[in-house]
Symmetry: C2
Subunit: 472 residues, 2 copies
Amino acid sequence: MSSILDSDPEEFRRAGHEAIDWIADFLTSIDRRPVLSRWSPGEVGRTFSSTPSEEGRSYGSLLEDFRSRILPGVTHWNHPAFFAYFAITGSQAGILGELLSAALNVNGMVWRSSPVATELETHVLEWLRGALGLPEGLFGIINDTASINTFLALAAAREATGLEIRAEGMSGRTLPQLRVYCSDQAHSSVEKAALALGFGVRGVTKIASDAGFSLDAGHLAAAIENDQRSGVIPCAVVGTAGTTSTSSFDPIAEMGEIARAAGAWLHVDAAYAGSAMLDPTHRHFWRGVESADSLVVNPHKWLFTQVDCSVLFTRRPDVLRETFSLVPEYLRTPEPVTNYMDYGLQLGRRFRALKLWMVLEHYGLTRLRQTISQHIDFAKRLAESLLARDDVELLAPQRMSVVVFRKLVRSEDGRVDEAASERKTEALLERMNQSGEVFVSHTRLRGTYGIRVAIGNGATTWEHVARILAFV
Amino acid sequence: MSSILDSDPEEFRRAGHEAIDWIADFLTSIDRRPVLSRWSPGEVGRTFSSTPSEEGRSYGSLLEDFRSRILPGVTHWNHPAFFAYFAITGSQAGILGELLSAALNVNGMVWRSSPVATELETHVLEWLRGALGLPEGLFGIINDTASINTFLALAAAREATGLEIRAEGMSGRTLPQLRVYCSDQAHSSVEKAALALGFGVRGVTKIASDAGFSLDAGHLAAAIENDQRSGVIPCAVVGTAGTTSTSSFDPIAEMGEIARAAGAWLHVDAAYAGSAMLDPTHRHFWRGVESADSLVVNPHKWLFTQVDCSVLFTRRPDVLRETFSLVPEYLRTPEPVTNYMDYGLQLGRRFRALKLWMVLEHYGLTRLRQTISQHIDFAKRLAESLLARDDVELLAPQRMSVVVFRKLVRSEDGRVDEAASERKTEALLERMNQSGEVFVSHTRLRGTYGIRVAIGNGATTWEHVARILAFV
């Protein structure tokens, strides 16, 4: 009896070739599309039918729908003039990696459920560890997002307190106040993870950052000391290497010393800027990273790997395992191997190492370094060009590939009119984004509204960045 | 200046066509490959170089490596004779969906970051809700895994206690004991989620299941009543519609009444069997599902959608939002729309709705129903054939597409020799899996070891299932 689901493999072959051709054309012509989708809310409800097909539809008709009805609703993260958020910069090698991974469709939860999924993950992360100049002996695991990896790190930190959280839980008894420390510039995922883990808003202390938006180590030490005097347990310190708003760097070495003295776990969020450490000349920025108990780097942010691919390195995998391992009978296997499901919350594990392998091997470290360096050069040049203007202010030092600026409006006495400056900057952002020529996002630094430019796409050239200057 | 990362789009086009042809051939010839990889541990370390390429390598050479070095380490989840775990059954439409999604590489964290990613997700889940016969008004969200969706549901349940967990946390004060109830057959992800959320091992009560491996509602009611008398807060009740070991069904309607009376959240784990509810004749199995506060169904388990694609439906999205929403300035947007990042832990969100749309539309509901029905018919036929044998015992009633059995060895007095039966069953499993012709997994039911067969691949025919009988 033949398969009733996919009865004709030639149908897939034809559609696959059509899709590949469409993608190749799309990637070469993407620059002619608006970066930000021009949809207003509700478009899908207006144009798609209210029930799915009963009898099925041909791939040809679906690809036509894709081009005509879905594509206009896409904000093009792959566009070389996408400068918003952190461009999750994919690449052509990454697309091929995802394609092959989808064809295999394995779940690498345990070694035996696809040995190469586990082993290639371990191997490629060992490559990455070395290429980033990180110390030997780190355990690496790929998960979907930095949100999850930071969550896992804080869960391990919670377990490492010795308070028997796994066994006894956090209710039905009185636990001392547990606390996580990070800077006021830390990513929202740190607080979100802490809320999920039962620290509560009250269990997260945001240390004021200094003029350059780096955590002030003196303030951190004082906060911890003060807390300890009142019986609080400092559970984890989270340092950021490359913050979201400005790509500032926290003083990791000093934070490591403070954390160690307090018996707290040090987690480093290098989701964005970690990839830049392929180039040894940047490594001074995360000096002290070797003291981290855990560290997250996202190849899907600045290493040209399709979303999702977030890497957690830890020198304490045993704690991660004690926190999460739970093996039901139907998943017990005899091999003395790494079963990655033991080190995280999620049982299902896509074969993400395949695309990272494709990216590292196809481009090679030299080309990856050059592309990242070029992004940093573009940011530097953008910052210098903006600085040369009378009516523009940089709101933070340019770091890595991030530039934050605002338009200045002065009143007659020459002083900056804050409200008018904000209105003008906001209007500029709207004009830029509505043009379709670029897409930038915004941030607010100590209350001041600014336009935030983050460069990260492998197809970006100076011409794309220069479009910003034409608007300003 | 031209892009230095992907300098030649024709290179991608050629490699893409080569990959598509390889996949089409692979899918038609997969049956000639061993299902379970024959690797022994350490193969990647032995055959892959110890550092990544410095200067880069051609796609041709990488595809060659993929075929010769990676493929032998793959356990073929796509194989029609893969009967282990729950076959995460992809499909050809699912591969195309992933391919297009990888090409766009969007992050649908907020509506504006790709409007169609959000709107198609909402729309397709409304299709799915209707197709499964679920009540109107449910909020749907796609996440990566059932592990995460159950975690989100329990986090919402914890918040719904009114104990201000988000604001005040679970340390530095005395909380009454919070507890989650599920059957002893519930998936390990329920306990894992509870551990992560601070319930602790002590905060999870596993209710004994009955002879058919369904939760005993009387035991549940008694446990909750007893707990309440000693001040425990029943926080959540988790019912399973289609357990992992035997595809048994908990009495959802009764559990809903008990949960409601106790003020607890009812979460239903229908990760596997939920897809079968496309056929109204099966819906009596999850009678009462409309009383669920939340429900998880995994299209990547039995709806022919590539991993990962797990759907959470809830009638209380407000609670989910209160639990998780945290919007930093750089993610604030003006539109009055759904921003899915507010309803979960993860900020990064792949465009998973695209593949689910491809699958539902390409195959159509009729063909999807037929394929699932055929799987259930195969399981029934397998169970009947096994029952006809003197030396085989079914360890659980056949339900859906799952069959659990063991070989029986009798001593001279005619009684079952438990130890010898286990050895013989284990040896049978090893023989089957080592043959490469099928891959089955095992489970243990009330201490008794059994071989577990789960049918779910769109290319499976009776001939594949019959291979099992040839071994037994």
